[in-house]
């Protein structure tokens, strides 16, 4: 096994082809009990994020000075924090922040990665080596460190957090797309098609894109969980989402001081972070099994 092949297996989801199945991936995932659980989890969190204004009972920054650090109950489902803010409402809005950061940053990563991967795959030679070199360099930083570094230079706020997480995630996508382009290009039927006048655009739209869709979807799901995790970690360290915007990471971090007297402040954000990431990972796993049977063992 070459080193490339090893890395391909170590980094999930790369180099797969879209199976020509009659059933949609959705149905196949649904049939897998774990996949169904993941799908439900993700759907629930998405629902929570979308309907946040309906579900939340109070505003995110709405303080109740007379009800600081109240235990979970009927007024405050998940209790209240040291400013008397409703933890439940903040968790609900936090889902929104988490998902937005996750989706936007994975969007940035996927978009850039797609572009660079196509470039690297199509124009072999200098262009490819420069792009892959750049990817290797980004890869040489532990991801959270690079994200922290970028945010520290740009200044901590939600936009910069998304940019930072996006940049950090570019290499995986670039590699996936490049591998796909190269494998498609080397297939005999594509070579034949090119020799009888298939344009690069045709190759791209009709052959590469459908081929890359499966690994791309898997990759995106897993990257989403990674991005949410990175955002939570950064916010936990105070270098991600800034107050008053609620983030599960910063809620958890702030709550540590009151852990002894108000454990609910710690428990709920931690639980939601874990459940969200778990749901995305379970879904990603199941998707990979369905879309990329080569990796299923």
């Amino acid at each position: 096994m070459s080193k490339q092949a090893i890395l391909r297996r170590a980094l999930p989801g790369a180099g797969a082809a879209l199976p020509r199945q009659s059933e949609s991936a959705f149905i196949l995932v649904w049939r897998d009990p774990l996949g169904r659980a993941g799908l439900c989890g993700v759907a629930l969190i998405a629902l929570m994020a979308i309907c946040a204004p309906v579900i939340a009972r109070y505003g995110v920054a709405e303080m109740h000075p007379k009800a600081k650090l109240t235990a979970p109950g009927l007024t405050f489902f998940f209790g209240s924090d040291n400013f008397g803010r409703d933890v439940f409402s903040r968790i609900v809005y936090g889902a929104r922040v988490s998902l937005i950061v996750g989706i936007v940053s994975v969007g940035i990563a996927a978009g850039l990665g797609y572009l660079l991967g196509i470039l690297a795959g199509f124009f072999e030679g200098k262009c490819e080596s420069i792009i892959m070199m750049a990817m290797d360099i980004i890869f040489a930083f532990p991801s959270i460190l690079l994200a922290l570094f970028i945010v520290s230079a740009l200044g901590p706020n939600i936009i910069n957090t998304m940019i930072a997480i996006g940049i950090v995630n570019v290499p995986v996508f670039t590699r996936t797309v490049r591998a796909s382009v190269k494998s498609v290009k080397s297939m005999d039927y594509i070579k034949n098609a090119i020799s009888i006048g298939l344009t690069p655009r045709g190759v791209l739209l009709r052959h590469v894109t459908p081929n890359v869709l499966a690994p791309f979807t898997v990759q995106a799901t897993l990257a989403l969980s990674g991005a949410i995790l990175t955002e939570a970690s950064m916010s936990f360290l105070g270098l991600g989402i800034q107050p008053p915007q609620p983030s599960w990471g910063s809620m958890l971090s702030d709550a540590r001081k009151y852990m002894e007297i108000a454990p609910w402040l710690v428990i709920f954000p931690a639980l939601f972070i874990i459940l969200t990431i778990l749901s995305f990972n379970v879904l990603g796993d199941s998707l990979r099994d369905v879309l990329d049977p080569k990796l299923k063992l």
Binding site: K3, M133, A140, L145, S152
Partner: protein, 314 residues
């Protein structure tokens, strides 16, 4: 072999240059410039000019870069804006702490993950396997800071545990040091164990399907030898790759755990640097960690050649 290592070391140069350019460029993006960070609100144009001259910031970026690189190559990462102390010795001393934590975590993860991964592969689709796989998924999905916080909460409620306030180095008192390090290492280790376990399971399964395993059994090999000598050794390359990548990732990943457990490692140093806008510290640490990461990868590549005679780096 020596030639190979030498050649690989030569190949590191462009990567390391790239990393330094990357770090330098990001530093150039700092709004205003670093002098703001030093002077804060007390700045006057005169003071500013003095500092800019002192730091060479009045020069064009290219000159600044070469001057900086020249110093870095001589082991001079500059001085901390805050403390005035040399950055490089501080990085080295803190690195030993982080490295200890990283190694302990890795050890924990391997001790947990390899046996469970093997069991899971051998008992495929049986209840044990299912339990192990769900546990592995949980491990993969458990951010260390969330699990750490929950565990500390639990320990403090149940046993009156509190996170250590003062760090004791391994040389000062090995016992106390381990007492401090064990919990963070366990937490980081279990977080890592999830993916190592998944990798172990899948590569053992893959190897077990191959012809030579059947051939080894047909020779009359005891199961123990089939699994540990043939299956595990053949399946360990992806595992080594993964552990190598995680080791590198840990150098950054300890940032959070060091913060929670007040361990004065490299991660804490970076974080303090970032929050205090102490740029020489940040720049130095990031460069150093990326360097170590690249070295670990090189090391992993070299291990390959020992494990698998087919991998030739001619």
């Amino acid at each position: 072999m020596r030639d190979y290592i030498l050649r690989r070391l030569l190949m590191l140069i462009p990567i390391l240059l790239g990393i330094s350019v990357c770090v330098f460029t990001i530093m150039q993006l700092v709004p205003g410039n670093v002098v703001n960070g030093i002077l804060g609100i007390e700045q006057t144009p005169e003071l500013r000019a003095i500092w800019e001259k002192k730091l060479g910031l009045d020069q064009p970026p290219l000159i600044q870069y070469f001057r900086w690189m020249g110093n870095v190559l001589r082991g001079d990462f500059g001085e901390s804006f805050r403390t005035g102390a040399q950055v490089f010795p501080e990085i080295i001393s803190r690195f030993t702490i982080t490295a200890e934590l990283a190694l302990l975590s890795c050890l924990t993860s391997l001790i947990i993950a390899i046996p469970l991964g093997i069991v899971s592969a051998l008992k495929r689709n049986r209840p044990v396997d299912k339990v192990v796989r769900v546990a592995a998924l949980m491990g993969v999905s458990m951010p260390s800071f969330a699990s750490a916080t929950l565990i500390i909460l639990f320990l403090s409620k149940a046993f009156g545990y509190f996170t250590p306030v003062k760090y004791v180095s391994l040389i000062q008192n090995p016992g106390t040091n381990l007492e401090i390090m064990i919990l963070p290492a366990l937490i980081l280790g279990t977080t890592m164990a999830g993916s190592v376990m998944r990798m172990t399971r899948s590569s053992i399964l893959e190897v077990m399907r191959q012809d030579f395993i059947k051939a080894v059994r047909a020779k009359g090999a005891p199961e123990r030898i089939t699994i540990f000598r043939h299956a595990l050794k053949n399946g360990c390359i992806p595992i080594i790759t993964l552990v190598g990548m995680q080791m590198g990732g840990l150098l950054g990943g300890t940032v959070v755990i060091e913060q929670i457990f007040s361990i004065p490692g490299l991660g804490q140093y970076v974080l303090t640097g970032i929050s205090q806008r102490d740029y020489p510290v940040v720049q130095g640490c990031v460069l150093f960690i990326a360097f170590i990461y690249v070295i670990i990868n090189l090391f992993v590549d070299i291990i390959y050649t020992y494990v698998d005679p087919r991998i030739q780096y001619a």
